[in-house]
């Protein structure tokens, strides 16, 4: 469960990136976050990931009160998240396989389990043939799918994705959204930021529309 209550985020007291956000996203829900550029989607994600602190208001994700989270608990919290960054954030000196395995390595899982899971998710995103490649030799779409595989390998409690289909063709976009739905069906809360209105319409899920840092519309 994700809960934002009277949340504000300002930079230098002048730029109000988020204004009085009040919302609840239930466990296992699938939500699209929409809005034009500069509406506050990235700031919204920064709040959920604990990368930044709100100026005022409360954020609770699962059992974690992010306003008062200790530095030592932050790593533990982030292990329960799966994040697909808009710029992918892949480690350039590691192969696709090594990048995808990272969350499980950090959680010190057994090597055989890591390998099994990595091959599963790489197959799911259609990258089985590219496991030994370095990111710089992949197309934008392949890099994005690597980032998606890394975000879902550890079956996170919350999956957030910033424009995860932005570099994909319609067919691959549809496949990736299917993957997210599968992950959601297993109990993961999924929040996807997108500009793709067609996709949002087609999937008929809960939509939160941000505009100038405030919630403009919430459907379903």
């Amino acid at each position: 469960m994700i809960e934002f209550s009277h949340l504000y985020k300002s930079y230098d007291k002048k730029i109000h990136a988020l204004k009085d956000i009040n919302l609840k996203i239930g466990a296992g829900e699938f939500v699209f976050l929409t809005g034009p550029s500069g509406a506050g989607k990235s700031t919204f994600f920064k709040m959920i990931t604990g990368y930044d602190q709100p100026t005022s208001g409360k954020i609770i994700v699962g059992n974690f009160d992010l306003n008062n989270i200790k530095e030592s608990d932050l790593a533990d919290y982030r292990r329960k998240l799966g994040i697909v960054f808009q710029d992918f954030k892949l480690l350039p000196d590691r192969t696709v396989y090594e990048n995808v395995c990272l969350p499980l390595k950090i959680q010190k899982h057994h090597e055989s389990f890591i390998k099994k899971r990595a091959l599963e998710v790489l197959d799911l995103v259609g990258l089985s043939e590219k496991i030994e490649q370095f990111p710089e030799y992949l197309s934008g779409g392949e890099q994005q799918r690597t980032a998606i595989a890394r975000a879902i390998i550890h079956q996170p409690g919350v999956l957030i994705a910033d424009e995860p289909t932005g570099n994909l063709d319609p067919e691959m976009s549809s496949k990736i959204i299917d993957v997210f739905e599968k992950v959601c069906a297993q109990g993961t809360t999924v929040v996807i930021a997108t500009h793709d209105h067609e996709l949002v319409k087609r999937k008929n899920k809960k939509v939160i529309e941000l505009m100038n840092g405030s919630v403009n519309k919430m459907s379903l």
Binding site: T49, Y51, E71, A75, D76, Y77, R78, R79, K80, L81, I83, F85, K89, L90, L91, P92, D93, L102, P103, I106, Q107, F134, E136, Y137, R150
Partner: protein
Amino acid sequence: MKEYKQKSIQRVTAISIIGATFAVILGFYLLSKNISHILSIWGESNKLIVYLDSESDDTVRKLTQSRLEKNILVDKVMFFSKEQAIEDFNAQISGYMSGLKNDTALLQVIPPYFEVYLKSEGSLEELNAKAKNLALEVREWIGVEDVSNGSLWTEKYSKLSQSVNAFFMFLGLILFILSFFVVSSSIKSHLFQRAKEIEILEMIGATKFYIQRPIFLESFGIISIAFAIGLAVNSALYYYFNSFFDSQLKLLNLSQVFRFFSVLELIIAFAISIGMGLIVTRLTFSRLYRYRHA
């Protein structure tokens, strides 16, 4: 792959810069230590010359010798009779003032004397002060005409030695501070180039320990290899100069006097280097976190 190569190049660059710094600072230490050592060896034969009355008899000589030998500051006493003293005088003077050899009146005033070697305990300054005090004391003894302790020369020498040591300490301090900056900036730039990697690992839930451990190990490795390079350069120079002294300046006997680092010195230098590297790594991490969260 390109990134992997880039990382290796960064490591090699850091090792080269830090290695060169260590070579300079270790070389400086070796040089200053040996120069101070040579100065102390050249200055350590601190002795008194105790001249007896020309007319003093054997009893006075024996008594004076016994009193000198019993003194706790004295290491060795050597007696030179009037005849030996004249012989020595003639041997030293005959080459350039041969006329004096036949000046019986002059030769008659040359007294018998003792060469009194003092124990080499304490610094050059302490030895000098002890010699001076002993000379004052002995000068008052019956049968002693005069005492020479060469205090002017030893005082000047001791001042030179002090100045050289102070100069080396000052230069050493500056070099140490400079080397700290060189090591610090090399490690900083190496770490800042990995800022993106650190951020990604943090975002996917890596603990500080997980992120920092390999980087601390890497810093340890870089410093160790750089230290080994610095040491190897100095070993090579040490053996080169030693053989040069042996073949070209044998007269000065420098190859017998020159000393390499002791094991203890190497352990201390290595510990300081590693400590410096790890402190810089730790400070850089703090700066990196501050910089990112600003």
